[in-house]
């Protein structure tokens, strides 16, 4: 976390091909807590590009169902990189089958089902960030 004028800026990256979802997350989180800085990313490829530029977020919110590269594939690539593997991943999904829930918890740190309300999402993010910072 970057200290800026005494405040903890929490850098969150939201990866989803649907702009309404990335917008909701950005607007909602930043509105509820000005400490949040949310980057909207529309695909897995774009996410890798940004990470390669060394813009590492504190947490990645990752949609599973995306064209070209889906959430699972991206998560696996992130976990293979020594630098990136420390970044916590929270999966966002509209499918609610048991296997994706279990895999979500195995590969990622948590799992949020769409449609979600922003306060709940923020609660989960806070919990994970607190746990990671210890």
């Amino acid at each position: 976390m970057v200290k800026l004028g005494g405040m903890h800026i929490k850098k969150i990256m939201i990866v989803d091909d649907l702009p309404e979802v990335t917008y909701t997350v950005k607007y909602g989180l930043e509105k509820l807590n000005p400490d949040y800085c949310v980057t909207r990313v529309e695909s897995g490829e774009k996410c890798l590009e940004l990470l390669n530029k060394n813009e590492l977020p504190d947490l990645i919110l990752l949609d599973i169902m995306m064209p070209d590269m889906n959430g699972w594939e991206l998560a696996k690539m992130l976990k293979k990189n020594i630098q990136w593997r420390k970044i916590p991943i929270v999966f966002l999904t509209a499918t609610e089958d048991e296997t994706s829930k279990i895999t979500g918890k195995l590969i990622g740190d948590d799992f949020v089902e769409k449609p979600f309300d922003v306060p709940t999402l923020m609660e989960k993010i806070e919990q994970i960030l607190v746990k990671k910072s210890k």
Binding site: L18, Y23, Y27, K114, F116, D117, V118, L121
Partner: protein, 488 residues
């Protein structure tokens, strides 16, 4: 083998009875005819013997030469072995007196009165006599001397030879009848077994196999009789059944495919609806919270409620589709019913307070059910919130109770709310059905009870509802296996 035994026994008894009647009556008629024939023959013999005697001794009678008469009679008797007794009775002062006889002891003959009749009428009289040891024929005939009757001859013939032969014949006949009766019974039983009992067993076995679902079973009976025709009809029926079952299976497969396509479609639709709903669910509460204008705030609240209702609808539709699919797995464990109910009630405490309704958990301690924890919670939650929704705010009371019946636990959720008519009771588990049409759509999805039904059925239990009528409250019941009951 019970039916086999009884059919054979019944028919055999009938056949034995009829055959015995026929055979023994035929034997009886035969013997009766033989007897008559014998007696006729002896009559003939007796009368011809008398004629011969008459012709040879007339002269001696006429001369009243007793000594010669005696000699004649004795000689005559010796010539005919059948003659037991022969006597000539002549009248003496209005009485018949035996003058000459082969049997010296018999002076007064047993047939005295018949002697008189024969004498007075001048006719032959035959008296057959049968007892245990002897068969005799006594013949009385007049002594006729040139038209005048002088006395009577009494001749007793033994019929023993003939009757002994007849007895022997009768014994043979009965023996032959009995043997033929036995042969008849055995051949009848054999025929019965071959042509009726065996086919019946074949039919029974085939029906059993077919009943178990093997429609390839064919009965191989080639006989050209009613049984053969029955077998043909039976085989045709089996083939028809097989064809129609194949058709039904084909339809079934198509239906299953369509059903799974429908579920897939619902799943896809639900998934696709969730993404566009995210901004509403995610942002509307925040915007509503921050809005200062009370009018606008009211509008935003309406939008939020509707968005949440839509989310409920999507979740419940997907839940129903999931419960319908065959590959859903339940995590069955032993659960304390009272504890599980308390958990659900605690979660809904604020909802009950808001509705001013008292919810009582009357379930006894230590009632254990075999169920999936999450699904049981969902089931109880649906039933309790349904009861609360349809119970008025004044003196509203919902009670939950459970009874143990054999290997089942029957749970009841009772309210003193608006009650239901028979028509409503029959539809209450239908999807999207709302008993109270006036209830605003935003308050109920109409899917909660359908989900409850699916959950109970997937646990192998039953759910039902009872209401004494409008305004008299409603009770929902469901059954679950207790710790001793086996789930599938």
């Amino acid at each position: 083998m019970k039916i086999n035994f009884s059919i054979s026994l019944k028919l055999t008894l009938l056949v034995v009875f009829i055959s015995a009647i026929i055979i023994f009556s035929l034997t009886y008629i035969n013997i009766k005819q033989q007897t008559e024939f014998f007696e006729d023959a002896y009559y003939e013999k007796a009368s011809s013997l008398t004629k011969a005697l008459d012709a040879s001794i007339q002269n001696t009678i006429f001369l009243n030469d007793q000594q010669r008469l005696q000699g004649y009679i004795e000689n005559f008797s010796l010539l005919n072995q059948d003659i037991i007794k022969l006597s000539v009775n002549l009248p003496e002062e209005d009485e018949l007196v035996v003058f000459v006889s082969t049997d010296k002891n018999t002076i007064n003959t047993t047939s005295g009165e018949f002697n008189d009749i024969s004498y007075s009428k001048g006719a032959n009289i035959y008296i057959p006599h049968h007892d245990e040891n002897r068969h005799t024929l006594t013949m009385l005939s007049p002594v006729n001397l040139s038209g005048n009757i002088f006395g009577t001859y009494e001749m007793v013939l033994s019929m023993d030879i003939a009757y002994n032969a007849l007895d022997k014949q009768m014994r043979n006949l009965i023996l032959i009848s009995a043997i033929s009766l036995f042969i008849m019974i055995f051949s009848f039983l054999y025929m019965l077994r071959k042509s009726i009992v065996k086919p019946i067993i074949a039919f029974r076995n085939a029906s059993k196999v077919i009943g178990e679902g093997n429609l390839n079973q064919i009965i191989e009976i080639k006989s050209r009789d009613e049984i053969g025709e029955l077998a043909d009809a039976f085989n045709n029926m089996t083939v028809d059944l097989k064809n129609s079952r194949n058709r039904i299976e084909k339809y079934n497969k198509t239906l299953e495919k369509l059903l799974s396509q429908k579920d897939e479609f619902i799943g896809q639709l639900g998934h696709d609806l969730k993404n566009p709903l995210t901004p509403f669910i995610g942002l509307l509460p925040i915007i509503t919270e921050q809005e200062k204008d009370p009018n606008l705030k009211e509008h935003l609240k309406l939008l939020t409620n509707n968005a949440e209702y839509m989310r409920d609808l999507i979740f419940k539709t997907l839940e129903l589709a999931k419960l319908r699919s065959s590959n859903i797995k339940f995590d069955i464990e032993k659960l304390d019913l009272k504890e599980e109910i308390d958990k659900v009630l605690t979660r809904q405490q604020s909802f009950f307070k808001e509705n001013k309704i008292i919810v009582d958990n009357l379930v006894n301690d230590n009632i254990i059910v075999n169920a999936d924890k999450l699904r049981l919670g969902e089931l109880l939650n649906n039933l309790v919130s349904n009861a609360v929704k349809y119970t008025p705010k004044e003196n509203g009371l919902v009670t939950i109770d459970a009874v143990n019946e054999k290997d089942l636990i029957i749970v009841s959720v009772k309210d003193n709310g608006i009650g239901m008519t028979k028509e409503q009771l029959s539809h209450v588990f239908d999807e999207f059905y709302r008993a109270d049409k006036s209830m605003r759509e935003g308050e109920s999805t109409g899917l909660g009870l359908s989900i409850a039904k699916r959950i109970v059925e997937k646990h192998g239990g039953k759910i039902w509802v009872d209401s004494p009528g409008k305004g008299k409250g409603t009770t929902f019941y469901f059954s679950l296996k207790n710790e001793f009951g086996k789930n599938k």
